[in-house]
Symmetry: C2
Subunit: 123 residues, 2 copies
Amino acid sequence: MYERKTSPNLNCGLDLIGEVLYGKWKIRLLWFIDQGHKRPSELLRKIPDATRRVLNVQLKELEDHELITKKIYPVVPPKVEYSLTEFGKTLIPVIDALGQWGDAHQDRLRDVILKRAVSSALD
Amino acid sequence: MYERKTSPNLNCGLDLIGEVLYGKWKIRLLWFIDQGHKRPSELLRKIPDATRRVLNVQLKELEDHELITKKIYPVVPPKVEYSLTEFGKTLIPVIDALGQWGDAHQDRLRDVILKRAVSSALD
DNA sequence: GCAATAGGGGATAAATTTATCCCTATGTGA
DNA sequence: TCACATAGGGATAAATTTATCCCCTATTGC
């Protein structure tokens, strides 16, 4: 596992939430788990742009941060289910606010994001 | 400037907001600008863990994404002021929600973040 | 002339995060 | 016997983000 060389910032609420939500797919993972997609394979199908490996890594971090729990069923083929903890559930309204803002402004956002991407590609 | 080699995900609201808010200090920059700390040197003082360079880079991205505007006064020594655009202002309630969650759970968050940092340092 | 001020930005290094590749395990069904 | 499904994880490479260093502008005050 990668070992951090610098210590995290823990000064304010924004630092703290950043520490647990930073990661390309974490928010989406919490969201889909809350929607009832609990198994790793389901999550992978829901987030096809991610690789299995990264999802595992990020799920592990969410678990370490006590936002989700992992239940392993001793069956073959393996079955695993993730669930939000009570703590994790308190994040859902916040994630909802993020998603709603993004949805509400999606056209404009696509526009400005692509505009910047294109102009930087032109040097 | 760094040129992206992969294209951004723009599927859903969460992708979109992620594209504009991702960056270690962006949320804080928006927040402090909204609080009236508009000059680069003020922002740097408010965010002492960041370097001048990164703040400039991230401010530029926020500007490209139309969340802030930059006003350069033609005086010496130079004076610059950033302000939120109307679009940027719509993000403030969302950022507020993030910060409030972080503040509300700060003890627990410090605890789980440090616990994970320590155990990974022990291999 | 020289330092201080306020703001910028290029080049490069270091840190961090994601992606790729490959290998493990165990039943089930063709 | 072989492929498939389901989940995991090590090693390493590539991508991306941050940090460091150093230099530039032009004026005011000493």
